[in-house]
Symmetry: D3
Subunit: 167 residues, 6 copies
């Protein structure tokens, strides 16, 4: 049965790089919304390891099998981007209490900036609660095995990146 | 434009009684899903002030204006009820860190019991972050003004309940 | 030098019974405000060990040396009591994160009920962060030594209470 | 190689009933200490579902394969019990932030009561972070499947208990 | 009626720049204390957007209507500054659990360094719980509307600062 | 009586520099394990104040009286280091809720990387809950008295370091 209205969810993030935790959330969101846009934020201040283009490319490859998921990049305010793409909801993952507080403040602020924009929170699989792009990069940098934390294409890129930097 | 699939969200709770914070969340959910079922849980162990029927009746009156919202009651496991009603997601409100922990554990447990059931978390308006059925009952019991915390029909029922009990 | 205005702080609580942590906070408050009223709340629902009268009596004895501290009891809404006593601030102790959340919600609610009433939070001495009336009663009940947790008069009352109940 | 000193860890709890999360922790502790005593606390105030004897019996069966683990029951103060059994450390499981705060206060209090007694915290397997005796009993009561949450002997006892109570 | 003693509260912070959340707290403190000194900390390590002089100037303009509030700047240890200014209490705002933990540790440390110095915590209006100087600067940098987050004079300075930096 | 098996605990950290809080934990661990290795992590990204060699030297001096404690330095993944040294457990100190979340994620990740490695958490004395290397450096830099926060040898090094840098 078709729904009463076409609904779009936007999942913004740094994705530097995308992890299996992010992908788990994307799969869950793709079941709840007609369309999911995974949007790579610019985030210059965080000095990302990968460029926006590299980050989007890895995401695109990793979500190729999901027909109602597309990837994008954006600069400027998230709420303005959500407006331009006719997003009905922002999706954010919650892993821990510290996440929650930060995300709560961000969501309240975004609502203040644009009351039409709703944020919903989803939980990754419990095996991914400890997972973050930051910790994956740290382990890769120290030569640890990251096979169960990121998809194969991302692993390849990380190994290349750190091989270069240690040369 | 119609959506690719009809989606149903289930918002379970004690609603003893429904507050303006609950209603705010129901309005938000009604914009994101084709159908929202607000489901009053039995919860005998909590010794509710109002019976399941009273709680559902107050909810029904307070959500009468929302065409894609219906009310119901259930006993037994929540995941079984969600299955019976073909729910795509359970909706839970998050107000504070303590909520979050409890809700997180509950959602993980529900996923364990039925992996098809997804839980999503939404935030009420910031003016309602301090609001709970428990605190409203306490204020009503002590004779405080609860006009901005509950809809008019609920206020009437609360005043009657406490008038009776103090007679 | 005298201050521009006489200011009164109200420190409400169950005080069932008063502990050294409460007393530490009372001493701190007595240095910051012209007058401090320690107000024993009725709290029937908590089934207190000591009656309101017993709780106030123990508090009175334990604060006898502080000339600008008085004790009282109250029923009904705290904000109404603060109004009647011309209180400028409610004082609450914070020991831990869980305290904080609950206190935060309570303070926001009280502000909603009476915008004139301000809540301020103070910290007990670090040696008392683990201390609560509940844990002291538990230890006393099990025959543990409570000498460093409560003043001598309270210890005497607790020993009598549990001696009676175990007879 | 033998250690410099024989060391005993005591793992106290209600164990009403023991869950797979508890058992996971017991296995971990049994690798770190020469002897582990799992001690069932009386906890009358919590109105346990199973008697102390039933709880110890289930624990005994579930830990039968671990040669350096024994079970016991105790009443009175935990620190006194630890002293009597020559315990070197109390072991407590941490699953969530809310656990942590409570456990932290308890451990500080126990140190105050007996400075010789050390508390160490361990983490169960991540699949058990959501698990508690309380939630298992709730699911069993509502007829849910508890196979992956408790050992077989405990499941049998729970089913019998609830079969009786619903008759 | 005059108070028994003149009391001074010191509200230290980076104020880079002052927000409506800070101003709300200053108004509340000005009602509870005879004198409030808002003290801009040097904080070189944080690489502030505005100089100490700019920050104090904006604060001075924004608090001009409050007769018992003055502004100042300080370097070195806060507790030494409080001593020099005869402060009776340090005031800190609490917005969230993460704030609380950090502030708690800071307050305990300051008490250790100077036992005479008391810290009290106050809550801003609930509409400001999400507000921070950092988030305001981020929104201003991305061209968002900051009208409801900072006073007019601060908004003007922020727009000029970011206009310059983007030229 | 000797233990059934020789057990080694590894206490990793930046120790930049070691504080009395760290030393308190080391004393506690030395009573529970046959051997404790305090291991200074490289942590280039944190831009330490002291070199790895300086940090180890200060630790060595401060733990000289403990016969079953040795010091070391390591680079690379912690779990690999623990393997090389035949460690039975990683020890981490918990002071606050924010610590807990971070440590919890780290411990789960380490378990994922090497399931043989167990992490246990211990609590420093309550007087040290507010203490961190970071806050000690900040106070030393601002000329505050750090006598009760670090051992004498560390205090000397800190004073020299900041004397040099302010020259």
């Amino acid at each position: 049965m078709v729904g009463t209205k076409m609904r779009t969810a936007i999942y913004p993030g740094s994705f530097d790089p995308v992890t299996n935790g992010h992908l788990d959330l994307i799969h869950r969101a793709a079941r709840l919304f007609d369309r999911v846009i995974v949007a790579v934020a610019c985030n210059e201040s965080k000095e990302p390891l990968f460029s926006m283009e590299e980050r989007q490319k890895m995401l695109k490859e990793a979500t190729a099998s999901l027909s109602n998921v597309e990837t994008d990049t954006f600069t400027g305010l998230l709420v303005d981007y959500v407006d331009r793409r006719n997003g009905d909801a922002i999706i954010r993952g919650l892993r821990a209490v510290s996440d929650f507080e930060f995300e709560f403040q961000l969501a309240l602020m975004n609502r203040k900036l644009n009351s039409r924009v709703e944020t919903i929170f989803m939980m990754p699989k419990e095996t991914y609660v400890f997972l973050s792009s930051k910790i994956v990069k740290e382990i890769a940098r120290l030569g640890g095995n990251i096979e169960c934390f990121v998809p194969a294409n991302v692993r390849k890129e990380l190994l290349e990146k750190f091989a270069k930097s240690s040369r």
